[in-house]
Subunit: 583 residues, 2 copies
């Protein structure tokens, strides 16, 4: 910093593409201070340093920062001090601040620029970080999800023409993968290729780390792209191309473009959200067919896992949270088109499950006891779709509180899953369907109720979501969303019941067109600890009918013993035979 | 226009104070073109004229404009052309446009100013409008709603000091009435005094049509105000005062200030929403006590009316919608502290009720038949509070569709009325509680589900409201809101069930503090046509318990026959005795 004449350096916890899971190369905050949470920004002056993170990570940050000299600054709380305010106090207005311009958003760059002289240095840390990991590269392959890249490019070019734009620059990896029907494994849990894409009316240029590719799969994929008019060029040349665009009108989405690329643009700019997320979220008929089948196979893996788990617990074997996560991974990876998990499995027994974002340790993980609740939140990336499921499983005797709240969370899940709503309804308007049954008992949960899910893409996908925050993006026919209410009792237990659903037509009337949810996830909910008196009759009907579908769809994929077991697990329940189904 | 060198004139349907019900003097649009809807703006060029209004008034506007030469322009529809765009086409950029600056909002003024040379002329139409009504004046009186004007002024001055403001200018009449604890009858259905108020740290100046007041009540009220430091000055002097404020910092709310007054301000301006609506909406303990009692007396008037109505219909007497409205007005006006109605009573039989904003004609109003549904939406201004209630009454045999939808709307009402929700929840997040039961049957309604209600002030009061439009203002303890779902079948019938509710504490847990609704309105819902199988048991319990409260509270105010009748009407219902209660 002294040699570069910098009074401060700010490092944001993002990569150049604003990926949900940055690769090791871009875990700069962790490398500098040890904090490994997903959201944390670091500001360093010549004699002090601070980490900014939100309430999800306060405990983790305090533990990981202990002894580092880096102080914790809590963000998104009343009276929180921003990085800008802290720097103003520490180094004063007009001081020189360095940022890694590749990993800084335009918004953050502008916020700092208001008060400081900014030095945007790409790969700022590379000279100091001797064994810095390279940009990941993995084989690139094509998929056929029912719409050709030609159809998609034509669609995009028509929109460009409509806005009188000559080009659009795409830097979000899931948008590029969707548009070109390509996948890779550069990003953990996301089948994506690190790249930029520039689409013009006449041409399309994909910027990848090409010179280092020597696998035949990538070569074949790139040849296919070239033959269909998508030029494949070296990753670092995108800046040069942008510099040369003079006289053109370029569409950028400034919420997902890094400051470095932005600084190289000298042509006319049209700034607007990319049109891709909205279209990508609506799955086409082939994608829907594939997704349904992927969920049946995933459901079979889940049922095999749950059968295995129950027998292990009954036999008194010692299993840790980690063992259980591995076993489920084993079942899932046996599925023909399994590629990888769609996120890190949360395998959490008892108090562990009270943390919605619990990280299961590989060493000395807590053991599962034959009582109380075990929560498992997991999913897979299949070339035919992406899955995400949470089940909370009673491992033996449960307290009345656990039984009651397990039931109420399932009631909340059913109430939203059975909702019918008009076309145009944003998710925030029906979020309450899953909360009203909990609020009635003065219960609530602090996370969103549902997120969009990609087609063999990110397990979290916009634009629609079902949550408390007000947002106008409507749920649309063909979208996939999770429904995942929960209750978390610190130090005691956690409950979450999560399925994925397809948004479907639900008929029309003189009052408009209506939508509903069709269950994609195919795995039973344990009925043994349900307090059925808390259910309305129609909710019980919903559950029985869902269980019949699970049995019909998943049953044929199971072994004999597992099938017999699943028949018992999915046997219809009713208020009068509440206790009959406990086995 | 020619003599004033104007190419066009634009007249907005508002008064200088942006009142919900402008006085006759400011019904300028109606005087010019005959259109009497609440929302309609008129643009006139030398050879053409157009009226802009929204879908609520399309039919009415077409009827009322027929033969006037004024064309209808539909606003708030896709592709709608704004007044500005139309004028650009008709008279071209830079042309001279006149507006009545007293009745033009700052926003409208600015929108026109972008393209035209604007002439803001106060009372533009007065020279043409020979018998133009005067600004209404009525006796001014004080009320004691539990907080003195001194306390309220101290509170406001502390906020002014906090924002380093010397003055705040108030022009919305309900804010002035609330702050000074004064009422009058200048505005229809609203107990308000036409005035401006300028509050400074040391002084407060109320601008009223003072010289013309000669009633002893107003004189006494003004003397009281003067003795408490509120100077009473002539209405038209407010402009002079604003001109003289140089060197001061003045708080204005530019959403409710007219362009004329705005043009006279030359000091430093702080623009922000007034802090009064937020505080005014939260009723104090005395207001709450009074409101509850007002609703019991209002409920007795309603029950007397419903008893009268049932007997008239049974006896076969010919009653029109207008007769029924008058009779209810008679019962209500017998209440000791009745001042006026809080809005124009909607008395609508059969197809009339399918129009949510039906205007009951005084001549040749439709007759009530001994079958089908009659809807009555009405309310009173009492010095102890404001009421607003809708009941839909079966007058004899009803169709299966009517019975079913009558039941579903009541179910929707109960589901929201029984909701419990966390502190901080905006109304738009629980609006769905009243729609989900309807959506399930592909039913819906096109208006808001609930609006705030003032304390002996406007029957529609912000900031919180329960509706589809996303808005962040939370429902807070002490607020009063309506709950009024409905179903409207064009040409056939309309159903709406409306009560007012007080937002109340509903306990706390480790998940936060919760709120609920306590019924203020005290009048039974007819149970004779309920299809109770559509109800959950707890919804029936809610209804029975509400009816017990109605009987306990209103019963003692009724005559012997009416009481016996109400006992039958409020008798508990259950799924097994669904038919027993039809009488």
């Amino acid at each position: 910093m002294r040699s570069a004449d910098l009074d401060a350096v700010v490092i944001y916890s993002t990569d150049p593409h604003f990926s949900e899971y940055p690769a090791a190369r871009w875990k700069q905050v962790e490398w500098l201070c040890g904090f490994s949470g997903e959201a944390g920004d670091l500001a360093i002056t010549l004699d002090d340093a601070g980490l900014w993170t939100d309430s999800r990570y306060f405990i983790q940050a305090e533990r990981q920062l202990a002894g580092t000299g880096v102080s914790l600054h809590k963000s998104r709380i009343p009276g929180a001090q921003s990085i800008e305010d802290w720097l103003l106090k520490e180094i004063g207005e007009g001081a020189r601040v360095g940022v890694d311009s590749l990993c800084t958003s335009i918004a953050c760059f502008r916020a700092l620029e208001e008060n400081f002289e900014l030095a945007g240095i790409p790969d700022l840390l590379s000279p100091l970080w001797e064994d810095r990991p390279a940009i990941p590269q993995s084989p690139v392959y094509s998929i056929n999800p029912g719409e050709s890249r030609e159809e998609k490019l034509d669609w995009l070019r028509a929109i460009l023409a409509d806005k009188s734009c000559d080009y659009i620059l795409l830097s979000e990896l899931d948008q590029i993968a969707w548009l070109l029907n390509i996948r890779a494994s550069d990003i953990e849990y996301n089948p994506l290729l690190i790249s930029y894409l520039l689409v013009g009316q006449e041409d399309a240029k994909l910027y990848v780390l090409k010179d280092e590719y020597d696998d035949s799969l990538s070569e074949y994929s790139f040849e296919m792209l070239q033959s269909e008019g998508v030029e494949v060029l070296p990753y670092e040349e995108v800046s040069l191309e942008l510099l040369s665009l003079e006289g053109a009108k370029l569409w950028i989405d400034d919420s997902s473009l890094n400051a470095e690329l932005y600084s190289t643009i000298h042509c006319e700019i049209y700034t607007a959200p990319s049109p891709i997320p909205e279209r990508k979220a609506v799955k086409n008929p082939l994608e829907i067919e594939n997704i349904k089948e992927a969920h049946i196979r995933d459901g079979a893996a889940m049922e095999n896992f749950l059968y295995w788990l129950e027998n292990k617990i009954l036999s008194g074997e010692k299993i840790s949270e980690w063992d259980a996560a591995c076993k489920l991974g084993e079942f899932r990876s046996q599925i023909e088109d399994y590629v990888e998990d769609s996120f890190e499995t949360i395998s959490a027994y008892g108090p562990s499950a009270a943390l919605p974002h619990y990280h299961t340790p590989s060493c000395d993980a807590p053991l599962l006891e034959p009582r109380g609740l075990y929560l498992n939140d997991s999913g897979g990336q299949f070339s035919s779709g992406t899955t995400d499921i949470t089940r909370t499983i009673p491992l033996g005797e449960c307290s009345p509180e656990q039984r009651r709240e397990y039931t109420l969370v399932l009631k909340a899940h059913i109430d939203l899953a059975a909702a019918i709503f008009p076309v145009g309804t944003p998710g925030c308007r029906i979020d309450a369907a899953a909360r009203l049954p909990l609020w009635k008992h003065r219960l609530d949960f602090g996370h969103g109720t549902g997120h969009g899910v990609g087609y063999f893409l990110g397990v979290h996908e916009g634009p629609a979501q079902i949550r408390q925050n007000l947002g106008a993006a409507p749920l649309r026919k063909g979208m996939v969303s999770s429904i995942e209410p929960g209750i978390y009792r610190e130090g005691l237990f956690g409950i979450r019941h999560e399925n994925l659903y397809l948004v479907e037509d639900a008929g029309s009337s003189e009052f408009g067109d209506f939508l509903s949810f069709e269950a994609l996830t195919m795995c039973h909910f344990d009925t043994s600890i349900l307090e059925l008196d808390l259910f309305e009759d129609w909710e019980i009907d919903w559950l029985n009918s869902y269980h019949q579908r699970v049995l019909d769809n998943v049953g044929p994929l199971l072994g004999e013993a597992e099938l017999e077991w699943l028949k018992r697990k999915t046997a219809p329940v009713s208020k009068s035979n509440n206790t009959k189904n406990n086995d």
